[in-house]
Symmetry: C2
Subunit: 191 residues, 2 copies
């Protein structure tokens, strides 16, 4: 991938996390990515929507790899879920609560108005749910149950990140993690 | 409260839910509220931020009343939590997934850029957590535990709403509800 294109996608992700999709202008994005204005329409001839969809896909894949890595690092999937919540809490506090989820931000701005972007967000969440489900299923949980449990884990994590950003505090994610990890442990142990 | 002011707040809530805070212009808001443009600055001389903060407060109180009503209607607090998730799923599907949470939408757009609005969002979530905690504590759960559990319930609900809006489906909230209600039941029964 061209360096400039990569910089535009990474900067887009950072700005969407912090100030949402609607609040991010392409001029600001090009400037902060240190990219010439002409490169924006060179790489994204479809304009902001195309850039938005590609930022969503780029971020979705990057995060899916991190999720898979977390599950690979622990023999007990519940420990991997605990590690995911912990890593997210660290990311939030180290960024002074600026770094939320870019897919969440895009979803809330455009899910009801820009169908192309809503679909990209749905695909991103689906990819994460599949990746979590694969990790949860590694010790024998049937795949339908793993998928249901993964959907719950992701919902709880996303909501906790949202509350942390509003509260400027990691307390919501720490509280949520306790119950989610316990639920995952109990569900995995069921006969 | 004046009718026009009320209409501006209710329309603001509806637009924030659907298209976020940054994506909502004051002109569109006045027009859809059927309010003269001059009324906007008459009632909200501080402009969009003041209107945003008042929409957040207005929505926060309206929802807190609905939460309290849900807990009053059931003798088992876990049933009230189940009813909250069910009511939200109905709201989502009946609105064709347009009606998300207005506080979530404002949070993701401005938590890192407009401190006054971030504080309003934090107060809204705090009010909901307190209201849920009061309901959860009604059958004897100590108030610290009730508050921790309430924070988890709200996080999970908010994240599930977000996933439903991306997926145009109630599946994420239905899946999340099963685990959350079970966790609430188990926690309330602990000695």
């Amino acid at each position: 991938m061209s360096d400039t294109r990569e910089r535009l996608l990474v900067t887009g992700e950072r700005l969407f996390r912090t100030q949402g999709y609607s609040g991010t202008g392409l001029k600001q994005l090009a400037q902060e990515a240190d990219a010439p204005w002409s490169s924006m329409y060179h790489f994204f001839p479809g304009g902001k929507q195309q850039l938005g969809a590609e930022v969503v896909r780029h971020a979705a894949e990057r995060y899916a790899a991190l999720i898979a890595k977390a599950f690979a690092a622990f023999s007990d999937p519940a420990d991997a879920v605990a590690a995911m919540f912990k890593a997210e809490a660290k990311l939030l506090s180290e960024s002074k609560f600026r770094n939320g989820c870019p897919i969440a931000a895009v979803t809330l701005d455009v899910a009801s108005t820009v169908e192309e972007l809503r679909e990209s967000c749905a695909e991103a969440f689906d990819l994460w749910i599949e990746t979590i489900a694969r990790g949860l299923g590694a010790t024998g949980l049937p795949s339908t149950d793993a998928c249901t449990l993964a959907s719950y884990v992701l919902s709880s994590l996303e909501g906790a990140i949202l509350l942390c950003r509003a509260e400027n505090s990691v307390v919501p994610i720490e509280r949520t993690a306790v119950f989610v990890v316990q639920t995952v442990r109990t569900t995995l142990r069921m006969p």
